[in-house]
Subunit: 169 residues, 2 copies
DNA sequence: TGGGATAAGTCAACATAGCTGACTTAACTC
DNA sequence: GAGTTAAGTCAGCTATGTTGACTTATCCCA
């Protein structure tokens, strides 16, 4: 039985201990570069539509999460996007002024501003999501029977705290 | 036998014809958002190291591809990154001045500037690649036996020309 | 061999989207 | 009533992308 590519490092780790520094030929350059190209094309699709409204990718991200989590607060949105209040405010203001997003004061805490998509906002968000869905759907069709589940688990595990970067502990 | 999640749309397509508009509950919001979070954390790892040199993500991308394809030309690099000559020149100039990248005139065509990493540049590129490799390696370990291969096929299929966006053909 | 095409570099000006720091307003909590 | 918190705002800076116009060196071909 041959050793699958994804166990190379683990094999070496067992032999050499936990502090393994992969050599050039052991680094997964292929996946590193695929992530770059895949993401570039994935976010590039909606750009043409966004440009029609004078919006950019920052507007897209805000509109997307407001549409997906209607009623979320500014603080929650800041936490998801990991940008500053000032950066968010610039694009959010435009989305509100152009009637894609609306705010309502919180019922229990009236300091909070709950964010909701308008009908117009929902339509735009959905049309952008459909574009991205089409690309994902096509990609999954070519990834095998359990493709979606494996891709989901892989990407889920990619999310997490900073690497730390302990090259030689 | 149950229908796998990734065939939902195809099933509907067979019933309704090729022009299928997925409803809100059929759009793969989970993968759309996972790609956003995964990529955010994936490119976020190297940022701390890059900041020590006064570099940003643009420098990282240039250094990465110069290291991976030593001897590539300016035109080839522009084609990979899909940015303008002026944008590239700004960061490339800094990488050359700080001795991370060097240029040599092409042998057959002396108009070309072939790009090579210096020893210093190779070291930095490799150390950043190792950070990203660690995250990928961990993610693949949690994605099942054929995880890497499926992830590779999925991401490969994600790369490609613009979507076109024919919502109602 | 001379003229057009090509690879690269440069100058200027601008847009987007991130950042820090300092401050205000309104509402909540104790 | 005092301190805390959620949000909004002003000012200014940085990084990285864009267009457009132009130069220089070199290549290639008629």
């Amino acid at each position: 039985m041959s050793i699958p590519a994804n166990t190379r490092i683990s094999e070496r780790a067992q032999a050499a201990g936990p502090a393994v520094e992969p050599d050039a030929d052991e680094i997964d350059f292929e996946l590193i570069e695929l992530l770059f190209f895949a993401y570039r094309d994935f976010v590039g699709d909606p750009d043409l539509i966004l440009a029609e409204y004078g919006f950019g990718r920052a507007h897209h991200r805000v509109l997307h999460f407001v549409n997906r989590r209607p009623g979320l607060t500014i603080a929650e949105l800041l936490d998801i996007l990991r940008i500053t209040k000032q950066s968010l405010n610039r694009v959010l203001k435009e989305l509100i002024e152009t009637d894609f997003v609306e705010q309502r004061a919180g019922r229990t805490d009236r300091r909070q501003r709950l964010l909701f998509p308008t009908d117009k906002g929902r339509e735009l968000a959905m049309s952008l999501a459909r574009m991205q869905h089409r690309r994902i759907d096509r990609a999954i069709a070519g990834a095998g029977a359990t493709g979606r589940d494996v891709a989901r688990r892989f990407l889920t595990a990619m999310v997490g705290p900073a690497d730390g970067g302990n090259e030689t502990p």
